[in-house]
């Protein structure tokens, strides 16, 4: 029966091609607009590390005092930590894994002296960084904890960087020159992309990022300047040592806490740490600390631009208009065929049969609209990528989930919009229609 109705549906759609075309076009345009915005939103608000987003935490400590956060977050905490506090937390080693980190823009000397030097983002971190964030390696591995302690001149390259410098060959043990100093390659990453790069949201969270990693201790030793954001408050002494001693906040800090018990313990530890600083006379206020996992952190930092939300709103309104449009046209189409339906009813078709037939017909329209809508979504994403920067549209691509959502949304919405016209069709009075003929 279904295939018969399906064929009937197709036949009826062919009968009035202009009206059918308008309906399909309206649904396709609406789905295209709505799905473009939704795909961008999904890409930007997605979980960058689903297997661990509830095990990785960013601690926050108020090291400025409650009345020094003017213009900041309402919770009177800052997103970064000072060097003093990172050092304290690293020493305490209270989590399974932990790393302080920052980014520095360094110049890379090519092996071929005729080539010009280029700039690279270097991330200074501790060796825990790699297992914590499930970073995949292609060759070699992370540097060791003793390299951290010894401030060793070792680096880990991303796959792209290794392709650029060594043509993709195994470069473990080879040397690169960063800012005129030699560094030994200890490992090369495999493809690794975090969207957004949650661990440091100050630097283009959706753009290209860290190309080289090196021990934090080495970067500090070499006075490598911070490229991200630095905020200072209170007295500072001049020079690099002054910066390290100061309460300027410029470092990110992440810990891995596998169980709920670890989380509770770490919360208590953070509070104790702040209380201890108060006792030592460094803080003149009661402990004010916070611990947020990746999901909470992304929400807290509010990284999806409000423009994306506005576009979602606009495009959903647009889809609504398109659907009401299709509904009006369907109504016109079905009522135009009242005579047909009257004859079928007179020949013994039940209301249910008419209802089913019309519903399948609208389903076919929705399916066609959804498929064309997918094409328009691809087109829309292409347009969005060329019109906007990466910070707006991330690397939004249509995946299978998006495709499924688009088709389901199209068919579901169209059938819903078609319910009333269909109901009207099922209530056509056969006698009246036959008389009028």
């Amino acid at each position: 029966m279904f295939t018969y109705y399906f064929r009937l549906g197709l036949r009826s759609l062919r009968r009035n091609t202009v009206l059918t075309g308008l309906m399909i076009a309206a649904i396709a345009v609406g789905i295209g607009a709505c799905m473009t915005a939704l795909t961008v939103f999904r890409a930007m608000s997605g979980d960058p590390i689903p297997q661990k987003s509830h095990q990785l935490y960013a601690p926050q400590i108020d090291n400025w005092g409650p009345d020094k956060h003017t213009g900041g977050a309402p919770d009177r905490l800052e997103p970064q930590l000072s060097y003093t506090d990172v050092l304290g937390l690293m020493k305490a080693h209270a989590a399974k894994r932990q790393t302080g980190m920052y980014a520095s823009l360094q110049s890379l000397r090519p092996a071929d002296a005729r080539q010009k030097p280029s700039k690279v983002f270097v991330r200074a971190a501790f060796t825990d960084f790699f297992p914590m964030f499930d970073v995949p390696f292609k060759y070699g591995g992370p540097w060791s904890a003793s390299d951290d302690a010894a401030r060793a001149a070792v680096v880990v390259l991303t796959r792209d960087m290794n392709d650029k410098l060594f043509g993709g060959a195994n470069s473990v043990g080879k040397t690169i020159r960063l800012d005129n100093e030699p560094y030994t390659v200890s490992g090369v990453l495999d493809d690794w992309r975090l969207l957004p790069r949650f661990y440091d949201l100050a630097i283009r969270p959706f753009g290209d990022g860290d190309a080289i990693f090196m021990p934090f201790t080495r970067a500090i030793d070499k006075h490598m300047a911070n490229t991200g954001s630095t905020q200072c408050n209170g007295d500072i002494e001049t020079g690099w040592e002054g910066r390290l001693k100061s309460d300027c906040i410029w470092l990110q800090f992440w810990v891995e806490l596998p169980t709920a018990m670890d989380v509770r313990a770490y919360r208590a530890f953070l509070n104790n740490y702040a209380a201890e600083q108060q006792n030592l006379g460094r803080f003149h206020w009661p402990p004010h600390t916070q611990l947020r996992d990746v999901t909470q952190w992304l929400q807290y930092r509010n990284i999806v631009p409000s423009e994306v939300r506005i576009l979602i709103l606009v495009s959903c309104g647009f889809l609504l208009v398109c659907l009401m449009n299709a509904m009006g046209l369907m109504l016109a189409k079905i009522m135009g065929r009242a005579g047909d339906i009257g004859v079928r009813r007179a020949l013994g078709a039940s209301r249910r049969a008419i209802f089913a037939q019309c519903l399948i017909e609208t389903g076919v329209v929705g399916l066609a609209g959804g498929l064309f809508g997918l094409l328009l979504t691809a087109l829309g994403l292409w347009a969005a990528r060329s019109l906007l920067t990466k910070e707006f549209v991330a690397l939004a691509h249509l995946d299978w989930a998006d495709t499924g959502i688009a088709v389901l949304l199209a068919v579901g919405a169209t059938v819903l919009a078609g319910l009333y016209p269909t109901w009207r069709a099922a209530h056509v009075q056969p006698a009246w229609q036959l008389k009028a003929q």
Binding site: A26, G30, M324, N325
Partner: protein, 409 residues
């Protein structure tokens, strides 16, 4: 025109009429909010920087390593750039307008103030800064070479001998208008600093909508420092009129001739920097315009479709009216009035919807309040759209021959 027959006819086609009215209402609500956002973003992207944008280019330079003679290299580069054919002047600075990166400092009027009186973007520069940007000095004096000293990175906290501020910053600090000669305190350093000059305008580096700089857009100051740093910094080059593209090629070439131990990340004109800085705003404008156009088109086609159907449905009645003496004009007018009633209802709901949508966005995204003229313009557009869309089906209806009344049934 008789409204009664139209209304009673509409009551028999309730759903169709409601569908059109609601479509028009949503179209109106989205359209006038979108137009409002478009207008704001266009205005945002046209804000002046204060520089002579048509003739200025930026070179972003970073030394390789941390050369001990960085200060001498900086002066060597600047001398070479100033001597280059086609160049009016040049200077080196930590940041430039529209770059999105830089430094902010809170300024106080008293030494132990809790909340800063004003936030200001920080630019470093020597006595050539004003000429190289093409700024206008409106009060006080420019730096002289005696004022300018080296600043070794951001961790070097020496205080400047005096600062030049923008007019907006001067007025914020000293509303009395006597800023030159007065002193301010920096939050991050000790000692007071006199204001020695005022420039008409110099925009902060952060220009994104609602971003860091949005609250103090024209509040900047120049400190008399040569920025000797491991950080990337900018050479700002002011060219003679018509020489911009020549210098765009010759300047980086000259710098590489002097030394290759540097990275020049980019060399770009201020025009290019502006296009890059406002790319997202322009993109949003384009996207919203396309969505508005598509909305209007979809709504128009919907009206054409449904009205055509009504015409087809009422062919016999129209024939009878024509046979009874109604003119073609009367038929066209009938459909136009019908549409006007529907669109009027839609527009009324739409204006209310537009205002509440805007109020919600004001809350959720800190948007500005919608100017009511946008809602009125939107209402007029929607009414005109309805009239235009209904014309074709109405003319078709008017062409139904009166003889039809005698023929069928």
């Amino acid at each position: 025109m008789e409204f009664r027959p139209i209304i009673s006819a509409m009551r028999r086609n309730k759903i169709g009429a409601i569908l059109i009215a609601v479509q028009m209402a949503i179209t109106l609500a989205i359209m006038c909010n979108a137009l409002f956002i478009i207008e704001q973003r266009v205005a945002l992207s046209q804000r002046p920087t204060g520089a002579d944008e048509a003739n200025v280019l930026f070179i972003r330079n970073q030394w390789v390593g941390n050369p001990p003679d960085a200060s001498a290299r900086l002066q060597g580069d600047l001398a070479a750039l100033r001597a280059l054919p086609g160049v009016q002047d040049a200077f080196a600075t930590n940041s430039v307008p529209m770059s999105g990166g830089g430094s902010t400092e809170g300024l106080n009027l008293h030494e132990d103030q809790k909340d800063a009186t004003a936030l200001a973007a920080l630019y470093f520069g020597d006595e050539h800064a004003i000429a190289a940007f093409g700024l206008k000095l409106v009060a006080g004096r420019n730096f002289n070479s005696g004022d300018v000293v080296d600043k070794v990175g951001y961790t070097d906290l020496k205080s400047p001998t005096g600062i030049i501020v923008t007019r907006v910053l001067a007025d914020k600090l000293f509303p009395g208008g006597n800023a030159v000669g007065q002193s301010v305190y920096g939050v991050a350093r000790s000692g007071r600093t006199p204001i020695i000059g005022i420039v008409d305008r110099l925009q902060v580096p952060w220009v994104s909508a609602g971003g860091w700089g949005s609250k103090f857009n024209d509040s900047s100051m120049i400190e008399p420092f040569n920025f000797v740093s491991v950080f990337p910094f900018y050479y700002v080059v002011h060219t003679q009129p018509g020489q911009l593209n020549t210098v765009l090629q010759s300047a980086p070439k000259k710098l590489f001739d002097i030394s290759r131990a540097r990275v020049i990340e980019k060399t770009e004109t201020m025009t290019a920097a502006r296009a890059e800085a406002y790319k997202d705003d322009k993109g949003l404008v384009v996207i919203l315009s396309v969505v508005c156009a598509a909305l209007l088109a979809v709504t128009a086609f919907g009206i054409v479709g449904l009205t055509s159907y009504w015409v087809a449905q009422r062919r016999r009645q129209i024939g009878i009216r024509r046979a009874l003496g109604a003119t073609r004009n009367a038929i066209v007018q009938y459909f136009q009035t019908e549409n006007l009633l529907i669109a009027g209802a839609g527009a009324a709901v739409g204006v209310a919807l537009a205002v509440s949508l805007n109020l919600w966005m004001v809350n959720a995204f800190a948007m500005q309040r919608l100017n009511t003229s946008y809602a009125l313009i939107g209402a007029i557009v929607v009414l005109l759209l309805g009239q235009a869309a209904v014309l074709w089906p109405a003319l078709k209806a008017a062409s139904i021959p009166p003889a039809l009344a005698t023929r069928a049934a």
